[in-house]
Symmetry: C2
Subunit: 385 residues, 2 copies
């Protein structure tokens, strides 16, 4: 296989090529990220290049982790709607509110993007199967892409994961193990299983490609706004792959010359008050986040007490002039309901972004003339019990 | 409002303009269909016209029921993936199998398309609220688009409608009435409620615009195949709006000069053996279908004993050289499972199309060199109980 990208360590700069099934940095253990020859690409790769292509995240294939002429393992991920809701803009006291509705992905969540990219590369690199810990939606997505690739999947999930998600994984043929613990406990078991079996560990940021899938959310919102940018993004943050990915996307788009330099949106992170390690670290001004003890929230995607990419999330917030806020479960559920009454099938994590918008606006972090994008990361249906 | 289309009766040819909230033909009671000035449009409306537009069904706005400069009531419907699955093509003994995955629409089903179009027109025409009968997914879609429009919705559904769909309608703010009967019983109650309250009746083919939404499935598959056509389409048919709509789309695309004349795909209808009025009529060679007594099937979207557009469905099958087949519930569930093991979140109705493919291939209706599109009309998640 011929690759036109390389990998580098997000902390120490160590480099390697993409052959095989790369995991984390072999020197310092930090996440690896992908580098494309952007200067060279800028000469011929333009917004018009993607116009006639299919409405999936792979339309940006020049900046995606594919070998030359390779077909991705795809279920049509990406190309999700960006829905403007004037009613919410008026209520929040801002110029525009757009909902990026990631619930319209395969397996009804944003996790499809990352898993399509990760499974594509690991399957091509020779993985005999996949394993991952998940607080919810990632397991469904991995099960689907494993099935698509024709390879076995094992997932470890907390016992209190919503029942529809467990049922979904099993229907897709995955081997589901339910754990009396949180996602970090599941992660330990997943890594042990990977060591024992040779299955590839697709845990958040323990391989370099889920970020590449997630970054396409950044490409898409720019394309959907006519290659323009919002003023602020509000994103529900568990492992943080989306924030890290979108921040990378905006840098790439500047390097490609598709966006003007220095106009990137402010990145706002929302977590549940019952599990807010990034919010606490941001308030304390630290460079990384202490693990949260006894995480408790109805938003299973936010029940992530420690993120391997904490320092990258905090960097994106700081560099963009954003903020991190925590919202109560009651408030995020009320706001999910408010989104439902606008016709959006919002999950609790999606509700959290609207709750954060109200809070950020009240605190002056977001101004009255601004264009704001809130992410609904999954479909409401998966949380139905 | 200025309109550049007119309405005509599908049976007697009676015409009217689109002002207000048109229902069925005022002369003979048959469904009304929309006529666009296709010859005139052909002069400037070309495939390139839509390339840079958002990935929703409204990208074809010149042939959609919008007033000049009007914004539709949209949640990002359409733009669903067309996923090629070589594994299934090999099993079925055909050249290509593509799944059009309509479960990735808002409210997780193809019904979103029709409801977006119908609610857009009826809301602009002054409807104070909406009412509809539904065997399932249509109710969820209407609830969402009513919420998006800020107008109240009442839906009548059989008591055995899947629980997630009932819960979805209620979460979206609709007033749900569960009936001890089938969809035709619900229809009687919906029409009475519409008469009493002035609410607009959005029942299948009792207004002209749901067909317009559904026809975009035909436009999309052609665009996704690079403005080419499949050899055969297999579609799970309850009320039949999709078959009628796609057949209309192919005629429009020929008139626009976007597709060569005389190359339309064969339209294959699949129903459940427990409710197969169209299959029976097709076998008997009649022009319309007798209502099915005691319909029974797990595929709630196929539990439609009588379709107002029966004669239009039968005409499309005949004109295209297609066929109508019935499959047992056990078989359609087995095939939904087979799709799930390819990563597709297939509903029972989606499974029915794969079951029909095997049957049509075995009977020689579909040949070994053909390109076949099977429709998965909704997401599996909604049928989880």
């Amino acid at each position: 296989m011929k690759f036109e990208f390389v990998l580098h360590c997000s902390r120490c700069g160590w480099q390697r090529d993409p052959e095989g099934t790369p995991g984390v940095c072999e020197v310092c253990g930090a996440p690896l990220l992908v580098d494309y020859p952007l200067e060279q690409l800028a000469e011929h790769f333009r917004p018009e290049s993607v116009e006639g292509r299919p409405w999936t995240m792979w339309r940006y294939r020049e900046v995606m982790p594919l070998a030359v002429d390779e077909h991705p393992i795809s279920l049509g991920e990406g190309g999700t709607p960006l829905v403007g809701i004037p009613r919410l803009a008026q209520r929040a006291g801002v110029a525009e509110v757009w909902i990026k509705d990631e619930g319209l992905n395969p397996t009804a969540s944003f996790k499809a993007r990352g898993m399509s990219a990760a499974v594509t590369r690991a399957a091509a690199g020779g993985a005999p199967g996949f394993v991952a810990p998940s607080a919810g939606n990632a397991a469904g997505a991995l099960s689907a892409y494993g099935a698509r690739a024709g390879l076995p999947v094992r997932v470890y999930m907390p016992k209190d994961t919503p029942a529809p998600i467990v049922a979904e994984c099993r229907a897709l043929g995955a081997d589901v193990v339910l754990i009396n613990g949180v996602i970090t406990d599941c992660g330990v078991l997943a890594r042990a299983y990977a060591r024992d079996t040779g299955y590839f560990d697709v845990s958040t940021l323990r391989e370099p490609y889920r970020v590449e899938g997630k970054k396409t959310m950044g490409y898409e919102i720019c394309e959907q706004l006519g290659w323009d940018l919002p003023d602020a993004i509000i994103y529900p943050t568990g492992g943080g792959t989306g924030i890290i990915g979108m921040w990378k996307a905006f840098a790439e788009l500047e390097a490609l010359g598709w966006l003007p330099a220095g106009r990137r949106p402010r990145m706002h992170v929302v977590q549940s008050a019952g599990c807010a390690p990034i919010v606490r670290a941001w308030r304390q001004g630290t460079e990384s986040a202490e693990p949260w003890t006894s995480p408790e929230t109805v938003a299973s995607g936010l029940r992530v007490p420690a993120a391997l990419g904490d320092f990258l999330i905090l960097r994106a917030i700081a560099a963009s002039g954003g903020a991190a806020v925590a919202v109560a479960d009651s408030e995020l559920l009320r706001c999910a309901d408010e989104l439902l009454h606008c016709g959006i099938g919002a999950c609790p994590e999606g509700g959290a972004t609207l709750a954060a918008l109200y809070q950020l606006r009240a605190a002056g972090h977001i101004g009255p003339d601004e264009r704001v994008i809130c992410f609904n990361t999954g479909a409401w249906l998966k949380y139905l019990e």
